[in-house]
């Protein structure tokens, strides 16, 4: 039988660190006009988006999914 099982501890740790980095990047992105330093602004914005995408993929592929329930041996 297939069931859905999530590794909540790993998810919390992963997203806490990822969220921390994304907050730093977004703070940098929002604190200065883009025309002042376009390269840094671009990297900050794209970096935060890419990190969120990467976290979603990692969470979906490796931290959750379908597991087979142990066979009921009698």
């Amino acid at each position: 039988m297939s069931i859905k099982r999530w590794h909540w501890g790993k998810i919390v740790i992963l997203w806490a660190w990822g969220g921390f980095v994304v907050v730093l990047l977004l703070t940098r992105f929002l604190s200065q006009k883009a025309e002042l330093d376009p390269v840094v602004s671009s990297m900050s914005f794209l970096g935060s988006v890419l990190i969120l995408i990467a976290l979603t993929i990692v969470t979906w592929l490796w931290l959750g999914g379908k597991d087979n329930a142990p066979t009921d041996r009698r």
Partner: protein, 232 residues
């Protein structure tokens, strides 16, 4: 004896340091340091355009220098206006142009990545303008080719902002009025302006969204509330 030594030391220190609260600094040596002080802003008048030190430009240069003086006085003692000379001369001196320290201004223009031909420039920064590590947050205004009335208008607007807000709006530096008529537009920036506009639009949208959301957190012991942004 001890008092006289202390007095002499105090005089030496006082003489070496920039006078506190001065509003203009005319540096008359290639190695003279821009005063650090406790200023809120530094406004550098950079004459790095060779055309502007030609004898026929002396009148324009004298006009710019007079504007610099009045601008420096009007922005108050917390803001410093800086001009680079080779040596101090009178404004009425016919050789005035020859005394402008173009080489020193050119160092700044090079650091800023600005073409000397579009100058002179007025650069306003809220951090100390070290040519080796120039602050990234700065506003650069092209003064070359500006009519006297436009120059006065620009400096008046900057004076208002520096005196009342202690900073200038960087968007003013890109204002169409600061581009002289007939001049070729500045070279395209290395990054696509469309991409920069998209980035800036995204930034404004996120800020705007954040300002429209009212978030209240009540934990019993502590209550925090994020309100609508003021001035938006």
């Amino acid at each position: 004896m001890r008092f006289s030594i202390l007095f002499a030391a105090a005089l030496l220190i006082g003489g070496a340091a920039p006078s506190a609260g001065q509003a203009t600094a005319e540096l008359v040596s290639p190695t003279a340091q821009i005063p650090r002080g406790t200023y809120k802003t530094w406004s550098l008048f950079l004459v790095c355009n060779p055309d502007w030190v030609a004898p026929e430009k002396s009148a324009d240069l004298a006009n710019l220098y007079r504007r610099f003086k009045s601008f420096g006085d009007a922005i108050g003692r917390e803001n410093l206006a800086v001009w680079f000379w080779k040596r101090q001369v009178r404004v009425s001196d016919p050789q005035l142009a020859e005394n402008v320290d173009v080489a020193r201004s050119a160092e700044f223009c090079g650091t800023l990545g600005r073409a000397p031909s579009q100058g002179p420039y007025l650069v306003v920064t809220a951090a100390y303008p070290d040519v080796a590590a120039f602050p990234k947050e700065r506003a650069v205004f092209e003064l070359g080719g500006l009519q006297a009335a436009d120059l006065a208008k620009l400096l008046n607007a900057l004076t208002d902002q520096l005196l009342l807000q202690g900073r200038v709006d960087a968007a003013m530096a890109a204002a169409p009025s600061s581009t002289p008529p007939g001049n070729t537009p500045p070279a395209a920036p290395p990054m696509s302006s469309l991409w920069i506009r998209l980035l800036e639009g995204t930034r404004q949208s996120i800020i705007g969204f954040g300002c429209k959301v009212k978030l209240q957190i009540d934990t019993g012991l502590l209550t925090a509330e994020l309100r609508e942004c003021a001035g938006q």
